[in-house]
Every structure is written in structure tokens, then in C-alpha cells.
Amino acid sequence: MLDLDMGAYAAFVWPAWGISALALAALVVRSVMAARRWKRELDRLEGGK
């Protein structure tokens, strides 16, 4: 049974999950963007050989 009512502890539980979700999402976005950038650059240089 899904329980989203954190009662008196909502001010602690939701920020803990919120900052975790935000920080992990930021790590993923940074990693994927850097991967795309350097793959594109390498493909460009190798294509120009």
C-alpha cells in the first residue's frame, strides 16, 4: 500500500528524497552531456582525417 503521508516528519523525509533525486539527476545530466560532447568532437576529428 503506497504511503505518501509522512505526517509530522514530512519536513524531513521529502527534503531528503528531494535533494537525493536532484543531486543524482544532476550527476546523470553532467555525465551524459560530457559523453556526447567528447564523442561528437572525436567523431569530427576522426572524420576529418
Binding site: 516528519y9 524531513f12 523525509v13 537525493s20 544532476a26 555525465s31 560530457a34 567528447w38 576522426e46
Partner: protein, 240 residues
């Protein structure tokens, strides 16, 4: 097998088909772990704050595990001067720092309602702050030295020194009288948690581990490509 993968070309070929699988597993486990975390019953003592444990404990595990990856890779980078080992050490630093910071922040959010304090300077919390500072120092040192080879060697030495802190973090709750509770899972008498709370914790732990693996492998692959680009640019500049 492991040493064969130290060849960057072989590493890139070997990991390429793995990447979608690892990313999909990370996302799937995170969704499953989140569902289990909010369908688990309240704890009889911690009530709803037990749900903070499902993000706090995995973050702490991965903060330590990422440093093991950083330290062992630093050892291979320093002893064998292998560029892939250096790339692996570098790629573990940022995710490790973020997981450690999350462990500190979510622990603080659990500490206030349960201990009545956002922070106490006990041995476990302090040694985790030291772990975070090692990550920050590692990244700052790499960023401060322009010569990448020199930066890699200096950072590898610092990475190795930081390994000393890991047993202190792990055993601080046994060696000193801390407010932080001792281990709940790895105990001679077995886990002290009920299955209803152990299952979401283990699934979230597996999810964080898979997410770190996905981030780590992606960042190592990016670092291999970045170095190839820099080498090609340097060659082109010499020829021009």
C-alpha cells in the same frame, strides 16, 4: 581479463554493449526501490523517518565504495603508470563526493527528528566529513595543476593517502562511543532490521551501486575520448 581491459581500445569495445544494460538496470532498480520505500510500513520507533534510511544508507555505502575505486585505481596509476587507471580514479571522484555529501545531508535530516540535533561531532560523522574533504582535495589538486601527467601523479598520491580513512569510517562506531548507531546489516547475529525494511534498503543499495557503475563507466569512456581528442589536436598543432 582485468589487465586485458587496461588497454583503452579493448576497454571501449568491451564496455560499449554493456552501457545500455547498466543504465537500464540503474533506472529500473531506482524505480523499484522508490516504490518499495514508500510501500514499506512505518518503523515502530523511527516512524516515517525510516524512509530517509533508504536514501541515506546507500549514499553512505557508495561514498565509501567510490573511494575504494578511486584509491585502488590511483595505486595502479602510480605503480604501473597506466592512463586508464588514472581515468578510472578521476571518474570516481565526482560521483563519490556527491554520494558522500548526500549521506551527510540526509543523515542530518534524519538526525534532527530522531536525535534532536542536525549535527554532532561524533567519530562516524567526523570521519565521513574527512572522506568528503579528501574527495574535494583530490578534485581541487587535479584542477590546480596544468600539466595533466603531474596532476595525475600528485592526485594519485593523495588518493592513496585517503584510503587510510576508510577503515576509520567503517569501524568508528565500534572503536569509539558514538551517537551514530553501529552496523545494522553486517553483524555476527545477522541483520537487525525486519524484512519489510531490509528489502527496500537492499534494492536501493543495489540501485545506487548500479547508478555509480553506469556513471563511472560512462565517465571513463568520456575521459578516454577526451584524451584522444587532446592528442589529435596536439598532433595537428605540431604539423601546422
Amino acid at each position: 581479463m582485468v589487465f586485458g581491459l587496461a588497454n583503452p581500445d579493448r576497454f571501449m569495445r568491451f564496455t560499449r554493449p554493456l552501457m545500455p544494460v547498466v543504465w537500464a538496470a540503474a533506472v529500473g532498480l531506482l524505480l523499484a526501490g522508490t516504490w518499495l520505500s514508500f510501500t514499506a510500513p512505518e518503523d515502530y520507533q523511527q516512524l516515517d523517518t525510516v524512509r530517509i534510511m533508504f536514501v541515506h544508507v546507500p549514499a553512505a555505502w557508495l561514498g565509501l565504495a567510490a573511494y575504494v575505486a578511486l584509491g585502488v585505481s590511483s595505486f595502479f596509476a602510480l605503480v604501473f603508470r597506466h592512463p586508464l587507471a588514472d581515468a578510472a580514479a578521476r571518474a570516481a571522484a565526482l560521483p563519490g563526493a556527491v554520494f558522500t555529501a548526500l549521506a551527510l545531508a540526509t543523515g542530518s535530516l534524519w538526525g534532527k527528528p530522531m536525535w534532536g540535533a542536525w549535527w554532532v561531532w561524533d567519530a562516524r560523522l567526523t570521519s565521513v566529513v574527512v572522506l568528503f574533504l579528501f574527495y574535494v582535495a583530490y578534485m581541487a589538486l587535479r584542477a590546480a595543476i596544468d600539466d595533466e601527467a603531474k596532476a595525475a601523479r600528485a592526485a594519485a598520491v593523495l588518493g592513496l593517502v585517503g584510503l587510510v580513512n576508510l577503515p576509520i569510517v567503517k569501524f568508528s562506531v565500534d572503536w569509539w562511543n558514538t551517537l551514530h548507531q553501529p552496523a545494522s546489516l553486517l553483524r555476527a547475529e545477522g541483520p537487525s532490521m525486519t524484512a519489510a525494511h531490509l528489502t527496500p534498503l537492499l534494492v536501493m543499495g543495489l540501485a545506487y551501486m548500479m547508478l555509480f557503475t553506469a556513471l563511472w563507466l560512462t565517465d571513463i569512456r568520456t575521459e578516454v575520448r577526451r584524451r584522444r581528442v587532446l592528442t589529435m589536436r596536439a598532433r595537428a598543432a605540431q604539423e601546422a
